[in-house]
């Protein structure tokens, strides 16, 4: 497969791993944060920790949209969906995320009309097919998915589809990175920058991290070679004492981002004054709401949304894991009360959640003899 096979080439991967060993100062411990949940997943899926030297520690960042969403938002959406003739439509990875009284999928088994869609336009299709019902699309994601939600809202307005609304949970990445850097218990040497988000926002918005915070950041792709090359680039900067924004994912990410996508977002969304993030608390101007021009298609303006606020189960330490303060296995519930099958927290549900990735691909490896030679 083009753009996949060449970035999984064993020879090139081995070479990049050697380069990392050569660059890493054995007397130094490196803490690099991969911001994006897609990277966390790739790191575990491809077993990249096995090829990195021990003094390079990868800290999992807050870039998993399902994980950072507080449980109250799911409860809110389920409260709307519990009304007669409402269809709850969402991406597959939302389906097993626990609300206070169960996940959307569990509600479906109890009779709620819950549908998996693969894009917001599928939700519009669903609305057209079910004119007597109201389709609520549960929109979630960073700048990666926000443009497609924006275009869907514009289309709904243009075509006059009135039995459709969006429950908007879109968040923005920069305030989350700022919150991480402001957190006193975080000491990081550099960032593996988000790939998909940057296709939309470009690389410029990260410049303050390099200039003001003096941390290198490399925007990175999702194949094993991408990740290793980005680590090479970060170590090279650190060795020279530099802090720059670099773009490893040039085949996809333009430096200036995608103007058309940004324009669609600006026409449709506005910044919320503040929004709650799991683990990070309330962050100002960190999320998007739907502009008044689209009020008819905004679930929150059209329906009564209870605005439920619930705290995570006390014993669960999702917040600490999200911030990178704890490793998944250090949470008291990990692998016991909380497993991918019976998740207590969202980090155990989403494939991009660090707990699910760690549980699925890694945790039983820990006791494994290192002498697996194939």
């Amino acid at each position: 497969m083009k753009y996949v096979d060449e970035f999984r080439n064993p020879e090139l991967i081995t070479k990049a791993a050697e380069e990392i060993r050569r660059l890493a100062d054995p007397n130094r411990h490196y803490r690099l944060m991969e911001v994006c949940g897609g990277h966390t997943h790739a790191i575990y899926r491809f077993g990249l920790k096995d090829v990195l030297p021990e003094n390079i520690e990868l800290i999992h960042g807050p870039g998993c949209p399902v994980c950072v969403l507080p449980m109250g938002r799911i409860d809110d959406a389920l409260a709307v969906a519990a009304q007669p003739d409402v269809i709850f439509a969402a991406f597959g990875d939302m389906m097993r995320v626990p609300g206070t009284n169960g996940s959307p999928l569990e509600h479906k088994a109890r009779g709620m009309d819950v549908r998996i869609v693969y894009s917001p336009t599928d939700a519009i299709k669903l609305a057209k097919l079910n004119p007597q019902k109201h389709v609520m699309f549960f929109a979630i994601g960073f700048e990666t998915t926000a443009p497609s939600t924006a275009l869907t809202l514009q289309r709904a307005k243009l075509e006059g589809i009135h039995n459709f609304s969006v429950f908007c949970n879109h968040v923005t990445i920069i305030p989350a990175i700022r919150a991480i850097l402001d957190s006193p218990d975080m000491r990081l040497d550099g960032f593996i920058g988000p790939g998909h988000v940057s296709t939309v926002i470009g690389c410029r918005p990260y410049e303050w991290i390099a200039k003001n915070e003096r941390k290198p950041i490399v925007v990175c792709g999702f194949e094993p070679l991408d990740l290793l090359q980005s680590i090479v680039m970060l170590l090279t900067q650190l060795k020279k004492g530099e802090s720059k924004v670099e773009n490893q994912y040039k085949r996809v990410v333009p430096w200036e981002g995608n103007r058309a996508a940004l324009k669609a977002m600006a026409q449709t969304f506005q910044l919320r004054p503040y929004f709650e993030w799991r683990g990070l608390g309330f962050i100002s101007q960190s999320a998007l709401s739907i502009r008044d021009e689209f009020a008819e298609w905004d679930t929150e303006q059209r329906f009564h949304v209870p605005g439920i606020r619930v705290t995570d189960p006390k014993a669960a330490q999702c917040g600490e894991v999200l911030k990178g303060v704890l490793k998944p296995a250090q949470c008291k519930l990990f692998g016991r009360e909380c497993t991918p099958e019976n998740p207590v927290g969202a980090l155990m549900v989403s494939s991009e959640g660090s707990c699910a990735a760690y549980y699925n691909y890694e945790h039983r490896k820990v006791n494994l003899l290192t002498s697996i030679s194939v």
Binding site: I13, P224, P340, N367, L368, I372
Partner: protein
């Protein structure tokens, strides 16, 4: 599964505590196993802890026979490369084959929804007849029930199969030893991805066909070439290769190491899995099987498979090790590795 039920001292210990049945209980993964082992086995088989195999081998009045049953609820009824009728024959035939038996006869039960068109039904009965002939099994009987319109989706089929145990081979996960090789009969994921694409819910097109077929000729080739060395076989249907091998790892208490680069996967399946975030190891197959063979017999078994019609893409994809006990580990050429668990949840309901 050979089980001795002693009703006198039967103390069923029901461990299944979930309040209601979810789609995942039918997905063939962890939840299915919990349901079968936690509710069905204690009530039906008592304290027996024998691993649950693909078919039960019984001795009745001195005669040995293998029996199994399977139900089919696939949606859509017809898909590239096959249909529900063909699956209903091949699925049950394959369960018999990988238990080490020659499939001999099938009993077919139909549950039809009122309003089902006769031409649709006739096409499926024809598919059953043709697949049965291809697989060399006779249809020994059947039953038909009709339910009200809206109470079943067109048609469901249950087939029960009878087979004659093959001489010279015994399938038992507990006989698996470190050093044994894991063989796979051909590329994985074709069936599951074909069904997913055939539903037309995704705007993805791919040139793919279901792999549904009888695997008995291939199983027979392996048994003839390596009979005494064949320890375990399984057709990786729902839950895919990962789920079948996790069951093996648990039943034998050993580790299964897979070499990622030797696992055959068609490009269209890889592409669809990349796009959808699925792992081909979790995708269902309807015409492949896995075999664990003692190392000294592995080359002979592989050669026999590759020389048999339809076995050209067979590979040795891994081996059994002491560690990681009870788990499946996939290794890559560059030295990375990851655990592959059983399927959790159900990404693709009603694929067979």
């Amino acid at each position: 599964m050979s089980v001795g039920v002693k009703l006198g001292n039967l103390v069923p210990k029901i461990r299944f505590r979930e309040p209601q049945i979810e789609m995942s209980h039918g997905a063939g993964g962890k939840a299915s196993r919990r349901l079968v082992e936690g509710l069905f086995a204690p009530l039906l088989f008592g304290a027996s802890t024998d691993p649950l195999g693909d078919a039960a081998h019984l001795k009745i009045n001195g005669a040995r026979m293998a029996v199994t049953t399977d139900s089919f609820v696939v949606k859509p009824l017809v898909f590239p490369g096959g249909s529900i009728g063909e699956l209903a024959v091949n699925g049950t035939v394959n369960d018999l084959a990988v238990s080490g038996a020659k499939p001999e006869a099938l009993v077919v039960t139909l549950i039809l929804e009122a309003g089902l068109r006769t031409d649709v039904l006739q096409a499926e009965i024809q598919a059953i007849a043709e697949s049965a002939q291809k697989a060399g099994v006779r249809i020994a009987g059947g039953d038909t029930k009709v339910v009200e319109h809206g109470k079943a989706d067109s048609m469901y089929i249950t087939t029960t199969g009878l087979g004659a145990p093959l001489a010279g081979v015994e399938i038992n996960p507990q006989s698996v030893r470190p050093g044994d090789k894991v063989l796979l009969s051909g590329p994985i994921g074709d069936h599951g991805i074909t069904i997913l694409l055939a539903r037309g819910e995704l705007d993805i097109e791919g040139d793919l066909r279901s792999d549904t077929r009888t695997v008995f000729p291939l199983v027979s080739a392996v048994v003839q070439a390596a009979g005494p060395g064949v320890r375990w076989m399984r057709d990786p249907t729902r839950g895919g290769v990962a789920t079948s091998l996790n069951e093996l790892a648990r039943d034998c208490g050993l580790g299964v190491i897979l070499f990622e680069d030797s696992i055959p996967v068609h490009d269209a399946v890889r592409g669809a899995c990349e796009l959808l975030g699925l792992d081909p190891l979790h995708i269902a197959n309807e015409g492949q099987f896995l075999a664990v063979v003692a190392p000294e017999f592995a080359d002979a078994a592989l050669q026999a498979l590759q020389e048999a019609p339809g076995g050209g893409e067979a590979r040795i994809i891994g081996e059994i090790r002491e560690q990681p006990a009870g788990s499946v580990l996939v290794t890559t050429l560059y030295g990375g590795s990851r655990i592959v668990d059983m399927l959790v949840g159900d990404p693709l309901p009603r694929i067979c």
